[in-house]
């Protein structure tokens, strides 16, 4: 999957906007949106919000977590923990990228938020690389991936799964041969038992 497809999936999430127009409810296949009343917040999917914003038909309201204080806390926790911590949104990076991309003026402290998020992202990416390396070194083929977001998982695909696939093939040859040898030894033992 490429990053644009992860973005595509994340765009289905809702965000609050404040429209500057009046309009009745719209019956989308993916669910109803509206009615729109100028000045009153309403929830719409992100793909729609960014389009309305680009056409200057609304103001975007930052999601609760898109706040410097809250994000500093997330960053602090992430830096204190050896593991991945839970992010405030499963698509935090995409949401920030999209909303700050079209509506930086609507979101207080946009630049600071961008910087903190970049720090969190970088920290997690470097953790991810270390855990991937450690995982390969154990030679295992199963791992729990709690709190990794879709974009983060996608950043190690196909490299990690393919490396595991190849490692599995290499290990399997050794495994088959070992059991083959064991069988031979067993047979020999049985043979010897018969002789003596």
């Amino acid at each position: 999957m490429n990053p644009e497809e992860v973005e595509f999936i994340a765009e289905n999430k809702n965000v609050s906007i404040v429209p500057n127009f009046n309009f009745d409810r719209i019956y989308l296949i993916s669910g109803d949106v509206g009615p729109f009343r100028a000045g009153l917040p309403v929830q719409v999917p992100i793909w729609m919000a960014t389009n309305l914003r680009q056409r200057q038909k609304c103001r975007i309201m930052a999601p609760d977590w898109m706040d410097t204080e809250k994000l500093e806390q997330v960053k602090e926790e992430e830096s204190q923990s050896r593991f991945f911590t839970k992010m405030p949104s499963e698509h935090y990076m995409v949401e920030a990228h999209l909303l700050l991309g079209v509506a930086a003026e609507d979101i207080p402290h946009a630049d600071e938020i961008r910087t903190i998020l970049k720090d969190i992202w970088d920290m997690r990416m470097s953790k991810l690389r270390s855990s991937v390396d450690a995982f390969i070194k154990t030679g295992g083929s199963y791992a729990k991936l709690d709190h990794l977001t879709t974009m983060e998982i996608n950043s190690i695909r196909p490299l990690l799964p393919h490396a595991l696939d190849e490692l599995y093939k290499l290990q399997k040859v050794v495994r088959i041969f070992m059991s083959f040898l064991k069988n031979i030894t067993l047979q020999n033992e049985q043979y010897q038992r018969k002789v003596f």
Partner: protein, 215 residues
């Protein structure tokens, strides 16, 4: 312009178009990340195509500058992307594994067929063309005793041991994974909503039963 009427899928309770779209998105991602071809979901696809067509007819009745037109068009494009990408991924797999796919399909009843009727037609025509082609460019120039087109020998099969990312949609206990040494097996439990990476073969049955989602 109401398009959210209940849509009846064959033999099932009426579901909303919204639900169908959600299922189609899950099915799309499963097919995208799954090493083998999954069972076709023509019901979902046909339902969405009907919805798209209906919506386009409705849009034709609206004035060009109606506020809704742009929004509806955007949504239609998004749905069309999912449908086409889904069908394209399947065609890709069918081409890749054509011998294997047809072989497996021949042992299934019509009601649990994995290929939709048009896909089955495509697969059959594809294998015929492939065989004709190989005969024309290579086999007929070979000594007579090795002119046979041995399907079993040249079949490409999906790697069921390949690793996939997944999310458990419910609590699952006792998923069997191959241990790292010799033939020892281990069992793991998956909590609802937890995410994992493991070999496809360990979760294939849970995926087909709808208990896990590939991510």
């Amino acid at each position: 312009m109401e398009s959210n009427d209940d849509v009846a899928l064959s033999d099932e309770e009426p579901v909303t178009a919204q639900k169908v779209l959600q299922s189609l998105q899950e099915v799309w991602l499963n097919e995208k990340f799954c090493p083998e071809l999954l069972q076709h979901q023509s019901d979902l696809v046909d339902c969405m195509l009907d919805q798209i067509q209906q919506m386009e007819e409705n849009l034709r009745k609206l004035k060009k500058n109606d506020f809704r037109v742009v929004i509806h068009r955007m949504e239609l494009d998004r749905i069309r992307y999912i449908v086409t990408d889904y069908l394209r991924i399947r065609l890709n797999k069918i081409e890749n594994f054509v011998i294997h796919v047809l072989e497996q399909e021949s042992s299934r009843n019509i009601e649990d067929a994995y290929l939709s009727p048009p896909e089955l037609k495509f697969a059959r025509e594809y294998i015929t063309l492939l065989e004709e082609h190989l005969r024309l460019v290579a086999l007929r120039h070979m000594p007579t005793n090795i002119q046979d087109f041995d399907k079993a020998k040249v079949a490409v099969t999906p790697n069921l041991s390949s690793h996939v990312f997944l999310r458990a949609k419910q609590n699952i206990t006792g998923v069997v994974i191959e241990g790292d040494n010799e033939n020892r097996e281990e069992e793991v439990d998956l909590d609802e909503n937890s995410q994992h990476i493991m070999q496809y073969k360990s979760v294939a049955n849970y995926l087909k039963a709808g208990a896990v989602q590939l991510i």
